[in-house]
């Protein structure tokens, strides 16, 4: 063989090998899930609706999953509900997961018409009537968004037959709310029509869900009506530690210009309500301004974490930690990496990033698999089974990642699960030379856990709900027998 022929052969082998490696990372229908220390317990296809926020509620002797959906797609704006035979705009799926190996789809409650982010009913929170100060003791209340137009409260005591209780409408957008079940105070992510931002906070007293009482509007100075100049990053969602912790952590931004705002809850509720710049500043304790490359989709507080390494120190043995999760927005890595950050907020006036976590791209060639790669959200349950021990991160085409966060200065991945795609999994496209080039990959959007230790992940690309449990060493990290 001549030298030139050898060279050509070498190049051919190289390119074929590269193509082989690339295709090996591409998911195929019927392929096995990819997993480490996590295993599949059960699934529900959620009628092939694009899923956002799951909330799992222990309701009597049953466990019910409430799952918010985005609007429909260009191809299928309103999927058919097989229970009714009718095409219905995506809304809320209600699934009995008492036996997690056999989830029973109970009801689809339609949401607002509209496609993708514009429609559906993406967010859902649940409070028992007996927990709320003025609730009907026999009721179970579901607070959900109705597209960008309204917040709704339904009585889901019979989860297969929800009954509308009330509606807070007239908004230009909504997003990830927080509802304190013991006080009824709700921090509703809304777009008040006269505010200069798409999403800000409306604080409501929903202790009597049938009669919502508005407390005040809140946001960053510059977002309020009548202001001029630069408009700060819009809100994504708050999480409150309630009256005992007296803090509300607000996350602003998704994939850009993130801000963690630490707010005195009491001053927020009892302070002057007129949305002037000065009044908006009063409850703020501090802010952590992030890089313009990253947003603050989820800000999950974990106060009072004992740090083993600091155990013999005379001060600072325990730390107040906030886990900040960015949201990847663009397909196939067309943006800076969105990941997970841990902030030490013990000294509240000077919060400081102490560590971070991302999935190594090379571990699955995730930038070329299709769809989004990067973080989106974490579990938000504070049930003891995982709280301050483990965190679960939805990472789009890298599935869900299980982190050991016992030492938040050094988070360690201890498991993962990437579901297999199905015939229902929708494509995700990027423009190449002006043409769409589409791939099909899992898009794990959100994750939640229940008190039993099950992990629920849902897919933005219509692949449904997967219920998981930990195995092996990951189970030991959580201390589950």
């Amino acid at each position: 063989m001549s030298g030139r022929l050898k060279l050509a052969a070498c190049f051919s082998i190289y390119f074929l090998a590269c193509a082989g490696i690339a295709s090996a990372q591409q998911q195929v229908i019927g392929g096995a899930p990819e997993a480490l220390n996590m295993k599949l317990v059960g699934t529900s296809d959620l009628q092939a609706r694009s899923a956002y926020q799951p909330t799992i509620h222990h309701q009597g002797d049953r466990w019910i999953a409430y799952i918010g959906h985005h609007g429909g797609s260009d191809e299928i704006p309103a999927p058919v509900n097989l229970q009714t035979g009718k095409a219905e705009p995506n809304g809320t799926s209600i699934v009995d997961v008492t036996d997690p190996s056999q989830p029973r789809y109970l009801r689809h409650l339609p949401g607002q018409e509209g496609k993708y982010e514009a429609g559906g009913a993406q967010m859902v929170r649940i409070c028992d009537g007996k927990a709320l100060p003025k609730g009907d003791r026999n009721a179970v209340y579901m607070l959900r968004t109705f597209g960008g137009a309204a917040h709704e409260i339904w009585n889901v005591a019979d989860p297969a037959n929800p009954v509308l209780v009330t509606r807070i409408a007239g908004l230009k957008d909504t997003h990830k709310n927080w509802w304190e079940c013991d006080t009824g105070i709700a921090f509703l992510v809304s777009g008040a029509p006269d505010w200069r931002t798409r999403r800000m906070t409306q604080v409501y007293d929903l202790s009597d869900p049938a009669h919502p009482q508005k407390i005040r509007d809140f946001g960053l100075p510059g977002q309020e009506p009548g202001s001029t100049g630069a408009v700060p990053t819009e809100l994504h969602g708050p999480i409150s530690t309630g009256p005992s912790g007296n803090r509300v952590y607000f996350g602003y931004g998704t994939n850009k210009g993130g801000i963690l705002q630490i707010v005195d809850r009491e001053k927020l509720l009892d302070g002057p309500r007129e949305p002037t710049p000065d009044n908006l500043r009063i409850p703020e304790i501090a802010r952590l301004t992030m890089s313009a490359f990253n947003g603050a989709h989820t800000v999950f507080p974990m106060p009072g974490m004992p740090i083993a390494e600091f155990a013999k120190d005379k001060d600072g043995q325990t730390r107040d930690i906030v886990m900040i999760v960015n949201e990847a927005i663009l397909n196939e890595c067309n943006e800076p990496r969105q990941m997970v950050w841990f902030a030490d907020v013990t000294v509240e006036k000077a919060p400081m990033m102490i560590s971070n976590y991302t999935v190594p791209e090379a571990s699955g060639s995730f930038c070329s698999r299709g769809g989004r790669f990067g973080a989106h959200s974490s579990n938000e349950s504070m049930a003891p089974v995982f709280y301050k021990k483990m965190a679960f991160i939805a990472f789009f085409n890298a599935g869900v990642r299980a982190l050991d966060i016992g030492d938040p200065y050094h988070p360690v991945e201890v498991g993962y699960f990437i579901p297999a795609i199905t015939a229902a999994t929708d494509k995700r496209c990027v423009k190449i030379d002006g043409q769409d080039r589409c791939k099909v990959a899992i898009q794990t959007n959100n994750v939640e856990t229940d008190e039993r230790g099950y992990i629920y992940i849902v897919d933005r690309a219509n692949t449904g709900l997967h219920i998981l449990e930990l195995t092996g060493p990951a189970r030991a990290v959580a201390g589950i027998q």
């Binding site: 496609k115 982010e117 001029t228 100049g229 408009v231 663009l330 943006e335 423009k431």
Partner: protein, 184 residues
Amino acid sequence: MRRWPVIAFAIVALSALSGAAAYQHAAPRQHEGNGAWQEIAWPFPRDGWPAGKAFRCGVAACGGEVELYVRPKMGFCNCDRGVTDDDEVDRVVDLDLMSEHFAPLAPGQMVRLADMPGRIRAYDLKMPNGSPHTAIGVAVSRRCDLLVALAHGRAHAREMQRAALAFLATSEMTRWMTAAMEGR
């Protein structure tokens, strides 16, 4: 004999690199159809979005010295509604790169750039040194992506808007904006 592929590869690689470098450092270019606008280096430090293109126009053609900045912002728009109100324009058109302090002069108007719909609005801008400027902000969208343009200077708002829109409507700029929105 055996070294020829290495030499050939090196020549090709060096050619490509020098071509790319020449493109990156090319002298400011006069633009087709409107010689008044001269391309300048992107004058801002890195922020959340990649840099775009920047241009300067002189007193004679624009009624005052005017600078224009254009860049795509991928994944920053309401995918279905697009740029539907003036608040959205205030938020996205890069006014904050110039100054935190600006106030709109009037309600905005609908506009199309490179076949993308959106809105245009004029502003009073207080520069960090205290000097007053006028600015014209344009935000147009396609699907979930934005393209924003900001002109500012001491020219009258109407004259600045006319000059900026005429330049942005040239075929060369239209081609660039279209390509930029497609990630090319």
